[in-house]
């Protein structure tokens, strides 16, 4: 298998606080890898560095051989890394289908001038955006809600919509930040099936943060455990479950709560 993504010695400091230090990660095409750890371990900070929201204080991020350090978030999205957020971040007043169409907007070739005066290229592109968005909605089972406002969708569907929107940008690597948070067991199962299906259909590589251990153990091929910004364990789900350091990190967290 070929390597798609690599992070070397990533470190993020805010003032005097080190949120993440010495983080290494290599992802092969088609893998699903989990990132777990107690609250405040620095998982989302890692996502924010990869997706271009933070510039790492140290270290290097490589995607398909290109260095991502210093690139802006939207540039990284265009290169093929899409993300979802811990607290779902849809555009509430836009329709469901508009939320998805927007994901294609970053790749249109029409200028705003063409868009205002309805040049033929823009008309074609707009139809194409609409068509692709409908296909994607079908894929995640939201086609019948296309004309609704996204804020009126129930929670579970909003999660799916956010994932579909990320897919619209045409990613090779998908970063999912706690996709199963707040879902009941049957919804979680449904989501798990959906993610696996999307991974096949779109040829995705997935890195996900999750607190639902059952979910992580079932979906991930490899897991990395962070605590206080430091990687404390790495391995297959079975290895992680038995690792004493991981158990301590989690039990320690329970005691301080």
């Amino acid at each position: 298998m070929t390597e798609l993504f690599r992070a070397e010695n990533l470190t993020m400091q805010f003032g005097g606080l080190t949120a993440v230090s010495g983080f290494d990660l290599s992802l092969c095409r088609g893998e699903i890898v989990g990132l777990i750890g107690p609250n405040g371990a620095g998982k989302t900070t890692v996502f924010n560095m990869i997706a271009g929201y933070y510039t790492p204080s140290e270290g290097k991020i490589l995607f398909e051989g290109k260095v991502l350090n210093g690139k802006k978030a939207h540039e990284i999205t265009k290169l093929g890394i899409a993300r979802t957020f811990q607290n779902i971040r849809l555009f509430p007043d836009l329709k469901v289908i508009e939320n998805i169409m927007l994901a294609y907007h970053c790749r249109i070739r029409s200028s705003f001038f063409g868009a205002v005066f309805h040049f033929p290229l823009y008309r074609r592109e707009e139809e194409e955006m609409m068509r692709k968005a409908m296909l994607l909605l079908n894929e995640v089972g939201l086609a019948e809600s296309a004309e609704e406002q996204s804020s009126s969708l129930p929670y579970g569907k909003q999660r799916k919509l956010e994932i579909a929107r990320a897919l619209g940008t045409g990613p090779k690597l998908l970063l999912l930040d706690e996709p199963a948070a707040g879902m009941n067991p049957s919804e979680t199962q449904e989501l798990l099936d959906l993610i696996l299906r999307l991974k096949e259909d779109f040829g995705l590589t997935i890195l996900l943060i999750e607190h639902d251990m059952k979910f992580v153990m079932r979906i991930c091929e490899r897991i990395k455990v962070l605590d206080y910004g430091i990687t404390i364990a790495e391995g297959t789900p079975l290895e992680i479950q038995k690792d004493p350091k991981v158990i301590e990190a989690y039990l320690g967290e329970v005691r301080t709560c």
């Binding site: 957020f85 971040r89 555009f91 007043d93 927007l102 705003f112 868009a115």
Partner: protein, 353 residues
Amino acid sequence: MDPHRKRNQALSLAAIAVVAAVLYFADSGASDYQIRILNNCAIFAALAVSYNLINGVTGQFSLGPNAFLAIGAYTSALLTMSPLEKELSFIIDPVIWPLNEIQTPFYVSLLAAGSVSALFGLLMGFPVFRVRGDYLAIVTLGFGEVVRVVANNTQSVTNGPLGLKGIEAHTDLWWTSGFALATVFFVGRLVRSSYGMALKAIRYDETAAEAIGINTFWHKMLAFIVSAFFAGIGGGLLAHLITTISPSLFTFFLTFNLLIIIVLGGLGSTTGAVLAALLVTWGGEALRFVEEPMQIGPLDIPGIPGMRMVIFSLLLVLMMIFARQGIMGTREFSWNAVFSGIRRLQRGPGKAK
């Protein structure tokens, strides 16, 4: 596709025809005062729609329209005034080259007004949007002051505090209403395109917009520049309507008026901005009585100049607290909404939700 598209287009054309007819009769029959109000309505509608693009649709708080109006007004006036007129006006310092030689047709001067204004928008947007949109308000507010300072001090370009006099009155009802129509068309189409959706996305959640690949910097810039362009043209039209301009004309008061309009219309609603522009322009005239002496029962109240502005600013604060949505919220006027409204009424108020 909308099944009523043909009907709606026909209705829109009919509405335009009705407005044109009204304007035609007003042009020949109405009093100067009425025509002035109609002109103001049209110019302010266009200005409000373009201002709403950056403040309402994109959610970036600009306080710049008065500066852009000033730039547009001076640019176009300096271009249409004849070299002789300029020589006579500039008594302290003669006007610099090439302004002392050129004279352009009105429409060229308007395009120049919009372009110069847009260029300043670009220059200001660059430092601001690179960091935080937060500072846009204070940078544009400061820019308004700077434009005033510069206009007062560059004798050989702006004629300083004396201002420009004897600008030809090119602006008539057709120019102002045509400008309003063009602005509504351009901004309306832009807002409904995927570019407009991207602007709305930036208003709701800039981080999420970045995450789906939207270059938020350039999109904010786009909205700001387009807004500045139309404000510049509006300034040019204004200059050729009132025929005399000076730095003290373009105070923050103008921007404040536009702010009231777009808040009242509903931040983000293009049709709301038009509606509110008509309401506020008319309301400003209707409210003149509060500044005149009056008698309520045994009470003699002397005229209080400035009372209208107190009322307007209080209105703005109260709207922000109690009626943030304004008249239209973020919705737009559409024939479909009108027809479904009529159907609801026909079914009787009992069944209406």
